[in-house]
């Protein structure tokens, strides 16, 4: 069962992040936007960590977080945003919605691997 869900509309980012985590022994699933991410999270209660972009079509990442906290309020899932967005206002919105952490792209896997392992454990 997947423990980590990577949500990004860019297949390049999905491949890079999921590939890195899988290579390091973690179970990973991917989703192409917030709507897909929410649907996969509902279908897979074993997911413990969501790594998500902010700007995506159909449903953006922060709306997805707000829906997860609203519709899946009893699910213990950590959410990290991985995005080019770095504005304090955006981070505050994420924090208020229940985001655990924020990474400004580019993704540097080695710097966050151990923290991801703990959050997914």
């Amino acid at each position: 069962m997947a423990k980590i869900l990577v949500v990004d509309d860019s297949s390049t980012v999905r491949d890079e992040v999921a590939g890195f985590l899988q290579k390091n022994g973690l179970d990973v699933d991917t989703a192409v936007d917030g709507r897909d991410g929410l649907s996969k999270l509902k279908a897979s209660p074993g997911i413990k960590l969501v790594i998500s972009d902010v700007n995506m079509p159909n449903m953006d990442g922060l709306t997805m977080v707000e829906k997860i906290r609203g519709e899946l309020a009893n699910t213990a899932v950590n959410i990290i945003m991985l995005t080019t967005e770095s504005s304090p206002a955006m981070k505050e919105r994420g924090k208020a919605a229940g985001v655990k952490g924020w990474i400004v792209k580019p993704f540097k896997g080695e710097a966050v691997l151990e923290t991801f392992r703990k959050l997914a454990g």
């Binding site: 509309d9 860019s10 297949s11 390049t12 980012v13 491949d15 700007n55 995506m56 079509p57 990290i80 080019t84 967005e85 770095s86 504005s87 304090p88 206002a89 981070k91 994420g94 924090k95 985001v99 655990k100 952490g101 924020w102 990474i103 400004v104 792209k105 580019p106 993704f107 540097k108 710097a111 966050v112 923290t115």
Partner: protein, 177 residues
């Protein structure tokens, strides 16, 4: 209206973003030189991104062609990937670096997602009546040839000095709440 030092700041920010985000390896040489904005278009496509604030709208236009050199550099052995998809994300990172640098002076910024247009649209940028329009030739390694055009339309007087040398590089770090 955009001041001379604000134009210089935008250029410094752009140069640093190009240097740090367009090469896929820090070992690749990246040479950037200013060029005339009315130089005939020589690439087939452009990636366009917009950064908007209350005071201005900035368009970053990255010119590219689907050449063998581009495929070899950006795809390497991953021939199952589409060059355009990979270059869209590289462009997104480049514009994200510009966005991050501008945020020190303009906290109200929003950035678009990247999209691809035919490069023949470039000469029409002047129709936007920009307050600042500049183009830069970019050569990465021995064979990758790109152009970056930056177009700024001001809705209010813009005057700032960007200090790109002392700006902290915090990208890739996890900020826990």
């Amino acid at each position: 209206m955009i001041s001379a030092r604000a134009k210089e700041s935008v250029e410094r920010i752009l140069r640093k973003a190009v240097q740090t985000r367009l090469p896929i390896s820090s070992e690749s040489d990246c040479v950037i030189s200013a060029m005339a904005t009315d130089t005939p278009v020589r690439h087939t496509h452009v990636v366009v991104l917009t950064i908007s604030s209350m005071a201005f709208r900035l368009l970053l236009v990255l010119h590219f062609s689907e050449s063998d050199a581009m495929r070899a550099y950006y795809l390497g052995e991953r021939t199952d990937r589409a060059l355009q998809e990979v270059f869209l994300e590289v462009s997104n990172l480049c514009c994200g670096a510009i966005n991050q640098a501008l945020q020190a002076d303009f906290p109200d910024l929003g950035m678009s997602t990247p999209y691809v247009l035919d490069a023949r649209c470039v000469p029409h940028l002047s129709e936007l009546d920009p307050d600042y329009l500049a183009s830069f030739e970019i050569r990465i390694g021995e064979s990758v040839d790109l152009i970056a055009t930056v177009c700024v339309c001001a809705d209010a007087p813009i005057d700032f000095v960007a200090d790109v040398d002392s700006a902290e590089e915090s990208s890739g770090e996890l900020e826990l709440f």
